[in-house]
Symmetry: C2
Subunit: 186 residues, 2 copies
Amino acid sequence: MAYIGTGVEYALHCLLFLVAPPEQPPSSRDLADIQGVPAAFVAKIFSKLEKAGIVEASGGIRGGYRLARPAKDISVLDVVDAVEGRKALFDCQEVRGRCPLLDDETARLATSGVCGIHAVMLNAQKVMREELARSSLASLSAGVLGRGLPARFAGEVKVWFAERQAAREDARIGGMRARSAVREDD
Amino acid sequence: MAYIGTGVEYALHCLLFLVAPPEQPPSSRDLADIQGVPAAFVAKIFSKLEKAGIVEASGGIRGGYRLARPAKDISVLDVVDAVEGRKALFDCQEVRGRCPLLDDETARLATSGVCGIHAVMLNAQKVMREELARSSLASLSAGVLGRGLPARFAGEVKVWFAERQAAREDARIGGMRARSAVREDD
């Protein structure tokens, strides 16, 4: 598995649909379905994004997700950390202290401070994280818009989300009527 | 498992012993034992390092490993790539092409060039690799020397390697005598 996994990829693609969001906040299932990615996995990812304060859920029948703060203030790094946890690039095992020839004095000298090898890895991690922090949902979204997709496509996306919303409401009303009918039969 | 695993850590620690090497090239078992790390794993790592042209093996009874080029020309990145393979930080699944609303024209526009999300990950990988390329076995070794370990420690390491070498030769001579004795008994 790659260091930055599919969960981050799905998260970012879904979040881009929330930068200029549909009229009603879409559900995580809507966001999964419009991208052809697994809905159950996306639901789990959105729990993590909500916990990290990247999205917020509005409840109720029209409920769904929206960004919890402006798209320019949500970096790719924020999303990576939310989905993957702050995982280290390298997990130092402190090999330098295991040499059987070390005594108390040399062990103290050999193991003081951060291991030189670990320090190189920490620097690599630092520059990688800085690079991920440099891009935001807003800059990614500008890149997508720069692809010159015709206006009709944005319109089709809007209609698709509205239809999904309407279908959910219909199903809900149908369910209420059915339950009401069952109660009347009692 | 971390992106840069224990194999790289063991490799780097072992390679540091080859920067100012013992008189006779040490075996991978010697290098593992002087650091208290698993010898079988280190043997596999050294096969990879040899294949990548980082170390070379000299055969025979006094055989062992030495660096295949100057320590300043072996970067941490070289060792990471040799041990881990050139593995990607992120494995793009091309999610952008899966939207069911795309037709031929919009699919072409949406999927031309590198995905914006993938591009961010590739940049992060690039800066990470550049940082790993900046450190060499020579610079790491200078850091270890800068720890002020007493000269007696370097002496003890030298003696330890020489004793291991002698023990291997004794075992070999013993084995030859035993085989010779068996032949005489025939």
